[in-house]
Symmetry: C2
């Protein structure tokens, strides 16, 4: 699928079919993360691919009450838990070098958007999920010291289309030379 088309047609998918994700599809989606840019090429990403229904159930339990993606976490064939090593992005010789501190949230955004667009181009759905208790998800997948869970997404064939929520007009968010 054309890049601009993938960008414009990607939706947050919260209903999935049972259809498995093929090895070839999964490889393409993981390569999209592999090729993401990152702070000084630090590549802080670590992904946990969850297929075990019991683990999915526990992950669903970490979501904020009423999170509309809860069922998707239970039902999608794969859930990808996006983790990051701390103290790499934004750091130089062990020190954060800007007031933003750890740059891992930005870098994980880059990597996960690559993943979602690759999925979209293959006819697979995703949704960036951030409204959950990271500390609980970290226990569920058992991350080591120094690694944090940032986001998660189901991955699978969409069972229903989502409507595109309204977007701000370009003129509303673009400024010229001065804010």
């Amino acid at each position: 699928m054309d890049t601009l088309e993938a960008i414009k047609t990607r939706r947050s998918i919260r209903q999935y079919k049972d259809t498995p994700v093929t090895d070839e599809q999964l490889k393409a989606v993981l390569e999209a993360v592999q090729w993401a840019p990152s702070w000084a090429n630090t590549q802080c990403w670590e992904l946990v691919l969850v297929r075990d229904p019991a683990v999915k159930e526990k992950l669903a339990g970490t979501l904020a009450p009423g999170n509309p993606s809860t069922d998707a976490i239970k039902k999608a064939p794969i859930v990808i838990v996006a983790c990051a090593k701390k103290g790499q992005a934004g750091y130089y010789k062990g020190q954060a070098i800007t007031s933003k501190g750890d740059w891992l949230m930005y870098d994980m955004g880059l990597a996960m958007q690559n993943l979602c667009l690759a999925a979209q181009s293959l006819g697979l759905g995703t949704v960036h999920i951030g409204a959950f208790v990271p500390e609980d998800a970290e226990k569920v997948v058992g991350v080591p010291e120094g690694v944090t869970v940032v986001a998660m997404t189901p991955l699978g064939v969409p069972a229903a289309e989502s409507r595109a929520p309204k977007r701000r007009a370009i003129e509303e968010f673009v400024h010229h030379d001065k804010y």
Copy 2:
């Protein structure tokens, strides 16, 4: 350009031609931001497009000493300063709802990766720049209270190809069911 190809061929471009970015190209790149996903559709992004050489020069001065993108900021036809409204992404009723606090870094990563991939698909170069003093850049473009500068990128026709830095193998960053 095909999505997977754009993802794999995108490089961090630090040398630009004088060739102007056309209105049509710019529109496509800005639409890529407009269509980015965001926390509860909060769309916290604000972009300052800098064409004024004096402003570019000042922005270049905010970069960390030795930042290899300094010349690109001065020479590219357009510099995009990626700003974000604070207290929207990750918030519900004025309160951050997870321990990650403001989710704006993640959301800006999503939006800026859309922008870079759209640019790549049109033959334009970009590079995510984070190693600068945000407070200084905020003064240069004059952001109001409640808005922060997150990143910047030059935008233009590449004058030289960059080599792809080495990537971690997929098996190195992928875990199954448990980290």
